[in-house]
Amino acid sequence: MSDTHEHSVSFVRTESIAERDPPYAASGPVKWMRDNLFATPANSVLTLVSLYFIYLILTATLPWILNGLWNTSSLAECRQVLDGAVGACFSVLTERWNQLLFGFQYPNELYWRPTLALVLFFVAAAPVLFFDLPRKLLIFTALYPFIAYYLIWGGALAVPFVALGGCIAGGFIYQRFVAGSFALGFFGGVVAALVFWYVGGMLIPENANGTAMMTAVPSRDLGGFMLNMMLGVTCVSLSIPLGIALALGRQSSMPLIKWICVVFIEFIRGVPLITLLFVASVMLAYFFPPESQVDLFLRVVIMITMFSAAYIAEVIRGGLAALPKGQYEAADSLGLDYPQAMRLIILPQALKISIPGIVNVAVGLFKDTTLVSVISMFDLVGMIRGPILASTEWNGVYWELLGFAALLFFVVCYGISQYSQWLERRLATDHR
């Protein structure tokens, strides 16, 4: 080694210098704003317009909401307290809370019954919505319709028991014979249930409702958001099996069955729900036997169920068509007959594909239950437009009431659609 460099200064840095922060505008919130809010001049203009728009909305609504009064007894009193200042009169919600939820005719002392039915509804719906819960809970789900009926309508305990007994009898016959032939089991079950109901119905004494433990509440006394929930839940759950049957019928190779289903579906989908509700309110009664008194609630349930069944059938038909043909052929080559192939191979896959569509229909249907206010049933919208806005205390309280109704529907519908997205992710079995 020479010592040439002995006195020269080392120019290679021996220690690394500390890292410097990136330039101010290339990181953090400033960069984010540059990229996402002010990328181009046009974008900046859009951002400013949006900000101004948000500012307008907030300045209009925030003082109104924050200044809101919750405990006055009438609109006049609200105005007196506010004394010209901007503010909402939310007291209408607190004062008419029960009417908004249960309608104005449901007996006050019985409010606990629908409330309990709602709580139990969540328990009953849980195992259907979330597969991880123990399957035994489904027994409660199966019993729930009868419990809910008894809680909401009250009356003779024998009615839900006979209904339940018929279902059990039908289910028993079905289980007994389904191994031999699906058709035999299915129709045998239906006949058994009908016979049981007919015989059981004759055994219930005439004045059973009068002496019942739970006070009977007639259907016309139901109202408020409870009515929307009841119509939505009942009609959606009834229309799914009907929709499956219609979808399978539409795909059938038997021309007569196919045409019955096509005509039914296209007819229902071609007319607005309002005309079907007109049918329920003014026309359907003509088609029942003269002495029967079918109440309006049941007639509306029939028509809305038919309405949503047609839409659900179309959704499921899409699911059936989306399955690869190989699935049908595989089921055939395994030697399965039609009911077996459908139950074990085709429908489980087709229904899985159809879930988002079915949820869409369910949300749409739930929103459409507000239409019953047009045929003078007092659901949430009917209550607001009828008894509440017409009363002398609250004449003129539009925004608080309509805003409340909108909020209620938004929470439920948005919740359902979020659940559907979660379910879609959960059920996705493709590897992406």
Binding site: N36, L51, I274
Partner: protein, 404 residues
């Protein structure tokens, strides 16, 4: 050695109706037909019994009787002495009017919101998702009522426009927003205006012809003619020239305050505005989702391939992305139009005189002819729905991917 023999070809046995697949479908269809006939007979029997019990019959001659009620919003001549059939016609035209207007504006809102939802601008994209979620998750009936309330409870009464320092003023001196509706100027067609209108129609044809000529020239020779400015010029100039040549035959009749109300101009009633606007923004939210899905359905490779071929960005959009996106967008768009038409029946909630409110509402209540009215009502909506789906099927066939 065993001898293979055909199974004995037994004669037809009754059990084959269930067990033999050749006959089984026949059996099922026969049973279904029988049940259908029984059900129809049962319902018809009930219907006839009930009608006879109430002394009613099914007849449509009530349509010729005088209706006896007034309709404010009407497109054809009508007074309270006109027949129920005439009232229904007014209703049909009103339904078609509001459906047509709402389809146009809903498409406008939907396309803008759908495109903006894909914007790079974070705030705008969020705002648009907010719009879509809010409107899709709240019943359209509530929106109709909200906007109707804005129109009737918030807008000033006509007398607010009175005086030297009025509480409300007309927009541009021509549009008055009152709680009785919106007043807009009405055109007055003077003598010679027909020439102006014809010129305008001719110039529209001219624009189309010019664009077609430019395309043909491009394909034949490769020469690219400008289309933007010439189209605008052909569209506007002849009409404006003719307007002044004919001595300005078309003038506007402005609404003016007279007495307790506005006179002149065209009155668009509050119910029509509420229904139109609510249906537009509600359906617009759904259309926005369709538009977004359509644009996202075009794979990025298509844009990149087009750029690689040397197309400019606007040509990439016009020639590559839009035609493919439209294939996805148009079928759901048309079914949204169908939904608008069906949802326009909610007019009855705000008192707009559409077919549901006239035939299914007042006429039904006055004559008590429930079955006839509801059947006619259904027939009308069915006709519209089925014709729109027929158009859609033709379109779907024409744009379907041509596969092997």
């Amino acid at each position: 050695m065993t001898v293979m023999t055909d199974p004995p070809r037994g004669s037809f046995r009754l059990s084959m109706l269930i067990n033999d697949t050749r006959y089984r479908s026949m059996t099922f269809q026969a049973i279904a037909l029988l049940m259908l006939i029984i059900a129809i007979a049962y319902l018809a029997n009930n219907l006839l019994t009930n009608l006879a019990a109430q002394g009613l019959n099914i007849a449509y001659d009530f349509l010729g009787d005088p209706a006896g009620y007034d309709i404010n919003q009407r497109l054809v001549e009508y007074n309270s002495q006109s027949s129920h059939a005439r009232a229904s016609l007014v209703g049909i035209l009103n339904t078609l009017l509001v459906a047509f207007l709402a389809c146009i504006t809903a498409t406008f809102f939907g396309v803008i919101a759908g495109v903006l939802r894909l914007s790079n601008n974070w705030l705008v994209a969020r705002l648009m998702s907010f719009y879509v979620e809010i409107f899709r998750n709240i019943p359209v009936l509530i929106w109709i009522i909200i906007i109707f309330t804005i129109m009737t409870a918030v807008m000033p009464a006509p007398r607010a426009f009175r005086g030297d320092e009025p509480d409300a003023t007309m927009l541009l001196g021509a549009f008055a927003f009152t709680n009785r509706g919106v007043y807009i100027p009405a055109p007055i067609w003077g003598p010679g205006s027909i020439v102006v209108v014809l010129t305008f129609l001719a110039s529209v044809v001219g624009v189309i012809a010019y664009r077609r000529y430019a395309t043909n020239l491009l394909y034949a020779t490769g020469k690219l003619l400008p289309t933007g400015w010439p189209s605008l010029a052909i569209f506007f100039l002849p009409t404006i020239l003719m307007f002044f040549i004919m001595g300005r035959p078309i003038s506007l009749d402005y609404p003016e305050l007279g007495g307790f109300n506005f006179r002149g101009g065209i009155q668009i009633g509050a119910p029509l505005i509420a229904l139109w606007f609510a249906l537009s923004i509600y359906t617009g939210a759904f259309i926005a989702e369709n538009v977004r899905a359509g644009i996202q359905a075009v794979s990025k490779g298509q844009t990149e391939a087009a750029s690689a071929l040397g197309l400019r960005p606007n040509r990439v959009m016009n020639l590559v992305v839009l035609p493919q996106a439209l294939r996805v967008i148009i079928p759901p768009l048309i079914s949204q139009y169908l939904n608008i038409t069906k949802n326009s029946s909610l007019a009855i909630a705000v008192g707009y005189a559409d077919i549901t409110a006239t035939l299914g509402g007042i006429t039904l209540n006055q004559t008590g002819r429930a079955i006839e009215c509801v059947l006619l009502l259904m027939l009308f909506y069915l006709t519209i729905s089925l014709s729109i789906s027929a158009v859609m099927n033709v379109y779907n066939k024409s744009v379907a991917l041509k596969e092997r």
